[in-house]
């Protein structure tokens, strides 16, 4: 039992945070909006260069073979920067799905290198994000998994309030040539996709929640009213402290859920849903509190917080709505067994259990 990040994991989190501090400051977000470009090629290049794309693909398939906790740390940093590029969807969800369902697919190597990205249309999400820049789309028809080249689909842009989310309705025709896995083969990997999607949405929420608190704290130290920094007033302090409490008690839930992803059982899925619920709540509260602390400035386009508010809104409902995740938690709670000796147990004996002495 050791509930700490390894030195390698701390280093990974630091590296990604630094990378995005350098390449994805709020000014860069605004520049992307001005340019009207779907993504920043230099930033994507830096992300690829850092080696963040093959993280979740097994080593025997030329990936790094790291775990969901490692990628959750990356996703946390992406959330903190409100990253526009589809690193989480591509590297965190689509790529491991393709690698699991079609390990010999010719597109895999290109997708691993980051030269091509994949978009994913999961039945849980009615729209497909970043479909226009993807080389191909992973789509589901009657449970079968298809990989469809972009030039074989018709995309209709559906503008999101989040200026950096590119959402599309996708019209397409399933065929024998697009099908890469039968429903039976794809069921497990698609369930994994839900869990990864929910975990990494939660991780992004946690990252952006902390960013909102940090922005609000900086403003509250600087802004003076009634002759004192507004951050010296308890009304402001208590708002921000309440947000920090939410963050502090969402983080270990997320980290434990990511660690337990491989169990793939009722308990581990309830843990993931728990993480999604509380991280989304933390992000929503953080963003709204940060706006409140900024006062009228917070409601202006000029201040960056609205980017995070909008991303939090979007992430709350993708990869399972709160109702979807609440139901998964309720099933686990009503099924039992519950109690303090149950927290770390899987529904089934773990392999290698007892070798940690």
């Amino acid at each position: 039992m050791d509930f700490t990040l390894t030195d390698e994991q701390k280093m990974l989190a630091d590296v990604v945070a630094k990378l995005l501090d350098d390449h994805c400051p709020p000014a860069a977000l605004r520049q992307l909006m001005t340019d009207g470009a779907p993504r920043d090629a230099d930033r994507w290049g830096a992300i690829v260069e850092t080696g963040l794309v093959p993280v979740l693909v097994p080593a025997e398939q030329d990936g790094l073979g790291l775990g969901e906790l490692d990628f959750a740390l990356i996703a946390q940093a992406c959330g903190r920067a409100a990253l526009p590029e589809p690193l989480v969807d591509h590297a965190g969800i689509a790529l491991p799905l393709l690698a699991a369902c079609a390990p010999a697919h010719p597109l895999l190597a290109e997708a691993l290198s980051g030269a091509a990205t994949l978009a994913i249309g999961h039945p849980l999400n009615p729209l497909v994000a970043d479909a226009d820049t993807a080389a191909a789309l992973l789509l589901v028809h009657e449970g079968d998994l298809h990989l469809v080249p972009r030039d074989q689909v018709t995309l209709t842009r559906r503008p999101s309030i989040d200026p950096f989310r590119r959402l599309f309705d996708v019209a397409w025709k399933p065929s024998g040539t697009t099908r890469i896995a039968s429903a039976a083969t794809a069921a497990g990997p698609l369930a994994d996709a839900i869990d990864r999607g929910a975990l990494f949405a939660a991780a992004q929420c946690l990252g952006l929640a902390q960013c909102c608190v940090d922005l609000a704290v900086a403003y509250a130290k600087d802004r003076t009213q009634f002759g004192k920094p507004i951050g010296s007033y308890q009304a402001i302090k208590h708002h921000l402290a309440s947000v920090q409490v939410k963050i502090e008690f969402a983080r270990p839930v997320l980290h434990a859920a990511a660690t337990r992803f491989p169990d793939r059982d009722t308990r581990s899925r309830a843990a993931i849903s728990h993480a999604k619920l509380v991280a989304a709540e933390a992000a929503d509260l953080a963003a709204r509190t940060a706006i409140q602390v900024h006062g009228a400035m917070g409601y202006s386009w000029e201040v960056d917080i609205h980017f995070f508010l909008k991303r939090a809104l979007a992430l709350t409902y993708v990869w399972g709505t709160p109702a979807f995740h609440q139901a998964r938690v309720e099933r686990r709670v009503l099924a039992g067994p519950l109690g303090p000796d149950q927290t770390f147990l899987p529904d089934h004996p773990r392999q290698n259990e007892g070798q940690h002495a």
């Binding site: 050791d2 509930f3 608190v213």
Partner: protein, 386 residues
């Protein structure tokens, strides 16, 4: 990150479980805050625990403990609450003063006080708050005046938990005349039966005497009952408060067991179509899990050599708020029976939820009010100006 127990940890859990199964009283003991009889029944249980060396497993062997680490302490607590074992009447002693004595006490003080604390011979109360020094503890006015090899204590302490029946108290006093705020304060240990001490129980909102006023009128105590240096009292109290708000005061197992009981109550008596209450039951379970995971994370960090920081203030807010909502959810399942008092003769222990709910309302107040905790989080974690 490795979230499986080692074989040693599993064996420790099995040992605790077996001992508790053989020793936990079959019937719940009467409250230690209501009557002397209930208090003494809990003292006897402390002795039973001490005889099995289960009284305070984290203490060193020489003081009756087992010298186990924080993760084993969590496992012990999990089994303790699972077994429905009695509340710890000496928790002020074993969880607060004990660790403080080990850090700041002289060898003589450790030898004098720790064994008696461990075996329940001396039950401790905390004497910090005063009528004019509550959240603003640095406003302490009670004095400890040096007179040769004694201190003479004068003043009034209040809201002192367990003091109605306890044997000793550890108090914060102004030892330097004219000193201000955090300066000139000293921690002194004194017996509650000393000449000049008058203890006046205060009835809580449930009518029990869980706390008391302590009047001190020229109470003479030997100078070797001072804990730490003269003038060091504030610093020591803050270290003690760290234990209190941090890991030791409320172990997560308490809430995990309560959440499991709540889910069982909902399964038994809840309306299956009541989605609001079902969601609240799930929320209680999630909150208890989140608290447990957070404490495991903190314990792991401490074991890895990192200090316990201001995040202890987030703990106190989180457990006290979850406790209130958890118990309120139980009342909403009980509906019109929620207001019924516990009835020892009735087979259905619904009234326990009411007791727990009323007690939970004190949580956001004691051990440093949640408003003070939010100030601490804002100033020490977030860096906002005072």
């Amino acid at each position: 990150m490795n979230l499986t127990y080692t074989p040693e940890q599993n064996a420790f859990r099995a040992e605790v479980r077996a001992w508790l199964a053989a020793h936990v009283p079959a019937r719940p003991l009467p409250s230690f805050d209501a009557t002397r009889e209930g208090f003494e029944a809990h003292r006897a249980w402390e002795r039973t625990l001490a005889e099995g060396r289960w009284g305070m497993v984290t203490w060193p062997q020489e003081y009756g403990g087992r010298g186990v680490d924080l993760l084993q302490w969590l496992i012990f607590e999990e089994e303790y609450y699972r077994a429905g074992a009695p509340g710890r009447v000496n928790q002020n002693g074993i969880f607060l003063l004990g660790p403080t004595l080990m850090e700041f006490g002289t060898p003589e003080q450790k030898a004098r006080f720790l064994p008696a604390m461990a075996n329940g011979d001396e039950i401790w109360a905390q004497a910090w708050s005063e009528p004019q020094a509550g959240s603003d503890l640095a406003g302490v006015r009670a004095t400890a005046t040096r007179d040769g090899d004694h201190y003479v204590l004068n003043g009034l302490k209040t809201w002192s938990s367990r003091a109605a029946f306890a044997d000793w108290a550890f108090g914060l006093f102004r030892s330097e005349a004219g000193s201000q705020r955090h300066q000139g304060l000293t921690l002194v240990l004194f017996p509650l039966n000393a000449p000049g001490v008058t203890v006046k129980p205060i009835a809580r909102i449930d009518g029990k005497v869980g706390f008391a006023e302590i009047f001190l009128d020229n109470v003479r105590v030997p100078a070797d009952q001072r804990l730490g240096d003269e003038g060091q009292g504030w610093h020591i109290c803050m270290v003690t408060a760290g234990f209190e708000r941090g890991l030791m005061l409320r172990s997560p197992a308490r809430y995990q067991v309560a959440a499991a009981r709540l889910a069982a109550l909902y399964r038994r008596e809840g309306d299956p179509d009541d989605a609001v209450t079902r969601a609240a039951v799930a929320q209680a379970w999630m909150d208890a899990e989140a608290y447990a995971l957070s404490i495991y994370a903190t314990a792991s960090r401490i074991l890895a050599g990192q200090p316990i920081g201001p995040e202890t203030s987030t703990n106190k807010i989180f457990w006290s708020e979850l406790d209130v909502t958890l118990n309120r959810t139980a009342l909403s399942i009980l509906g019109a029976r929620a207001e019924l008092l516990p009835d020892p003769a009735a087979p259905d222990p619904t009234g326990d939820w009411l007791d727990d709910y009323i007690f939970s309302l004190a949580g956001p107040i004691y051990a440093g009010s949640n408003e003070i905790q939010r100030n601490i989080i804002a100033e020490r974690m977030l860096g906002l100006p005072r």
